[in-house]
């Protein structure tokens, strides 16, 4: 446990990628097999559940300390695990000698839900501050220690005999507690339960469009498709089919209205959207389906799923990833002709002869649920991640409106000392007397702008409610957003998609900000 707590702490504080890889490699080399396996599961977030809820943790710390002191401290620190580990009072503080795997086995096999808090308290009482932090992070999931999967793969390569490509291929197959992964890395055979044909394959991702680069690109070498505002998915069509999300999570059950059963083995890449009466609906509609593991019949009827396929990775025994895009498109069409499922279609290609024309199509296309276009090189192979000269996303120009800052809240994590989350609003009507909140933004500014905003907030506070400050109306900011829709959930009646700061208008008077009517008119 102590080694792992130290590893986490070192990872958090190490600025360089190489140092982090080094730390991981050293840990994997010196630890025992079981500890390695669990550490790997924790670092890659493979745990299938949270062992303890935020509510239970808060109850524990309030019993141990004081409700108000906890609240003040949490507002200040901005990280629950760190707040609790610093605040925890113990008469008996010393390092636990328990191994990581022993600890994990206790909590993995713990059935007495009502005794969980007592058990956790037992460990927190017998731990150092750093160990408490580690324990809470493990049990709540989501470490955020700045370790990407790519980094871990690199460390695995260095601590065994396997090539990176092999690790990449079987990465998603190993099961908790992953001790067999480390045996395999040392040269043993793959565990029998791993079936390559059931595994998620890493996605190819799009680079951002860059106008300078594109000047020299010939349009003939590229195709373009619309970028739909849905969720990316990989579907394995087979006798035991599966649907995976962008990060490889199994979402088959959530989208059970897509038929994945077919003889053979086909892996298809595309976008999940909601489509009704032949029309793709907004992301808001899709949100009703996301995360619902067993959607009701009614939900399925109200929000029917459609899969827009745009690429194919495997066509039976053919590994299409090694073929050019044009070849892959042919295989994809063959597949669509075979499967004939009504809620699966191919993404259509946009006809264009110059980049200017494509830009025009992108901006003027009437469908509201297009985020932009994706441009793909015809000769490109299907490779993992963002590949040079592969795919490019060219987003629609966002909407941009000036709003007034109304509330500010302290940020979390890295920005916990700053007022970094802002609620902005506009005038209710043309009388310019009352404001209504329209949305929340917490990105888009530079670090220096954040410091100025923070100072402005502190000097213009009207009232404080815990971490939130209500502010004197006085600061105008330009907010960009990708889309706008009606919403019954918000007081203003509208919901903005991905609002972010584009400019701080220090000089602009608040009387020049628009009213809600103007905002609503943007929807059409």
């Amino acid at each position: 446990m102590n080694d792992f707590a130290e590893l986490l702490n070192d990872l958090i504080l190490s600025p360089s990628r190489n140092k982090k890889i080094d730390l991981l490699k050293n840990f994997f080399c010196k630890s025992n097999l079981k500890d390695k396996g669990w550490a790997f599961c924790i670092l890659t977030n493979r745990m299938d559940r949270k062992f303890v809820s935020v509510k239970e943790l808060k109850e524990l710390i309030i019993e141990n300390s004081d409700e108000d002191l906890f609240r003040f401290s949490y507002d200040y620190v901005g990280d629950l695990a760190e707040t609790i580990s610093l605040l925890w009072q113990s008469n008996n503080e010393k390092n636990t000698n328990i191994n990581l795997h022993e600890f994990m086995e206790i909590f993995s096999n713990f059935d007495h839900k009502n005794k969980l808090k007592t058990k956790l308290k037992y460990f927190l009482d017998r731990s150092s501050e750093n160990q408490r932090f580690t324990i809470i992070k493990i049990l709540t999931g989501g470490l955020r220690v700045g370790v990407s999967n790519g980094l871990i793969k690199e460390a695995l390569k260095l601590s065994g005999v396997r090539e990176k490509s092999e690790i990449e291929e079987f990465w998603h197959g190993f099961k908790l507690p992953c001790t067999d992964l480390f045996e395999w890395l040392d040269g043993k055979k793959l565990p029998k339960y791993i079936n390559r044909k059931k595994l998620f394959n890493s996605f190819m991702l799009a680079n951002n469009y860059n106008s300078n680069e594109f000047k020299s690109f010939k349009t003939d070498d590229y195709i373009a498709e619309f970028k739909w505002d849905g969720i990316r998915a990989q579907i394995i069509f087979s006798e035991d089919g599966k649907i995976f999300s962008r990060n490889g999570e199994d979402i088959t059950n959530s989208f059970c209205d897509i038929n994945t059963f077919i003889k053979g083995y086909f892996v298809v890449d595309g976008e999940i959207v909601v489509k009704k009466n032949n029309k793709v609906l907004s992301f808001n509609h899709l949100q009703k389906r996301i995360g619902r593991k067993n959607p009701s019949k009614k939900l399925i009827e109200d929000y029917p799923i459609h899969f827009i396929a745009y690429d194919i990775l495997f066509y039976t025994s053919v590994d299409c990833r090694a073929l050019s895009l044009i070849e892959r498109k042919k295989y994809l069409n063959r597949f669509i002709n075979i499967c004939k499922f009504s809620n699966i279609s191919t993404s259509s290609l946009i006809k264009f002869s110059s980049w200017d024309q494509l830009q025009n199509i992108k901006e003027t296309s009437l469908n509201n649920h297009i985020e932009g276009v994706i441009i793909k090189k015809k000769t490109s192979l299907y490779k993992k991640g963002r590949v040079v000269d592969g795919w490019y996303k060219w987003k629609r120009n966002p909407f941009s409106v000036d709003f007034i800052i109304m509330y500010a809240q302290r940020g979390h994590g890295k920005r916990s000392s700053f007022y970094s989350d802002f609620t902005f609003g506009c005038w209710v009507d043309e009388q310019f007397t009352k404001l209504v909140p329209v949305g929340k933004a917490y990105s888009g500014y530079t670090n220096d702008e954040l410091k100025s905003l923070d100072r402005w907030v502190r000097n213009n506070t009207v009232e404080r409610f815990g971490p939130v400050r209500s502010l004197k109306p006085g600061l105008v900011v330009e907010i960009s957003f990708d889309n706008i829709n009606y919403s019954s959930r918000h007081k203003s009646g509208v919901a903005l998609r991905f609002p972010r700061f584009t400019r701080i208008r220090w000089d602009k008077p608040i009387s020049q900000v628009c009213s809600l009517k103007y905002i609503k008119d943007l929807i059409n």
């Binding site: 504080l13 003040f72 994590g413």
Partner: protein
């Protein structure tokens, strides 16, 4: 303008004002007469007409501000009570940095103790804090949250020595405040047997030499400009925190960056500042020290300023102390 419980103390734009004494304490704008608790720039500003403080504080202000440090000064001594208009004032050590004092102000038998910044941990570079019984106590709350619990200072400095030994080819660049923290870190290093030359950023030399002149033993210290680039490896270099990420620091290629501060308690702050080697070393009282001090001086009323007042006021009220936040302006920055 909100009155405190004692009606002869007022908050003004310039800062805290003692009416019967006709002076300000640590004013943020120039005034006729100012009592200065210590020489940190958020407490001691230039251009006051007349200042009253310890000998060291006045000399440090002169060193920092040149001739604008004041037009006239009066040195306070620990063993004397000075009458200023209708009050008497006596200074007591605050244990914060060299020359730092508390002011005990007596008006018609009512005793007001203004602590300025203080700590209770022993520090060889200054006199230890002296608790004084009083009626109203004004305390700082820079670390006024129960999450702040400063660890043993020697153990923190041992971390630095260990890192220097483990990374012989690297330069250790440690951010420290020029006045106080820098010299305290050096004396702690010397006590633990680190006797190599310690190199300083130019901004730290003047004050360190002042400490040496005041018989605080810093051992071999040298300006980093006297060290050639080829010899940077394995050196310990102290610099102001702002220099850790500026152009100056880029000349050190193979470097471990550290920062000696009470804020290093919080990992997220450490990360924000890109610090690899956090040293939790503070010249302010932590939560337990503040509570201990309130108990020691045993006042009727506690006024809280500088930092996280809410939690402390809440806690003291719960413990049956009359307590409120002073809400002075100009002190909200999280400086030590």
């Amino acid at each position: 303008m909100r009155k405190t419980n004692i009606n002869w103390l007022k908050k003004k734009r310039e800062g805290l004002f003692c009416v019967p004494g006709n002076f300000f304490i640590d004013p943020v704008f120039p005034v006729e007469k100012a009592l200065i608790t210590h020489a940190h720039t958020d407490h001691a500003r230039p251009n006051n007409k007349s200042i009253f403080s310890s000998k060291e504080t006045i000399e440090l202000m002169h060193l920092r501000y040149g001739e604008s440090y004041c037009s006239d000064f009066q040195i306070a001594r620990f063993d004397e009570k000075i009458k200023i208009n209708d009050v008497t004032v006596q200074i007591h050590p605050a244990g914060h940095i060299l020359g730092s004092v508390q002011f005990l102000i007596n008006y018609k038998g009512y005793r007001l103790l203004i602590s300025g910044d203080y700590k209770r941990t022993k520090d060889k570079t200054c006199l230890s804090y002296e608790p004084v019984k009083c009626d109203t106590f004004i305390t700082e709350a820079t670390f006024g949250l129960p999450i702040f619990n400063h660890p043993n200072d020697q153990n923190e400095v041992k971390k630095l020595i260990k890192s220097i030994k483990a990374n012989v080819n690297k330069t250790h660049l440690i951010g420290v405040y020029a006045l106080g923290k820098c010299q305290r870190l050096i004396t702690l290093l010397r006590n633990l047997g680190y006797d190599e030359t310690i190199y300083l950023h130019g901004a730290l030399t003047k004050i360190s030499n002042f400490y040496s002149k005041n018989n605080i033993i810093l051992g071999n210290i040298s300006n980093i400009s006297e060290c050639s680039k080829s010899e940077y490896a394995n050196k310990l270099v102290l610099c102001p925190p702002s220099s850790l990420n500026d152009k100056w620091s880029q000349k050190f290629k193979n470097v471990v960056k550290g920062y000696a501060s009470g804020w290093m308690r919080i990992r997220q702050r450490v990360k924000q500042k890109n610090i690899e080697l956090p040293l939790i070393l503070s010249d302010h009282a932590d939560w337990d020290e503040i509570l201990k001090t309130v108990n020691d001086v045993n006042p009727n009323e506690v006024l809280v300023t500088h930092g996280r007042e809410e939690a402390l006021v809440h806690y003291l009220t719960k413990k049956n102390f009359k307590s409120s936040a002073l809400n002075l302006i100009g002190f909200e920055d999280e400086n030590e």
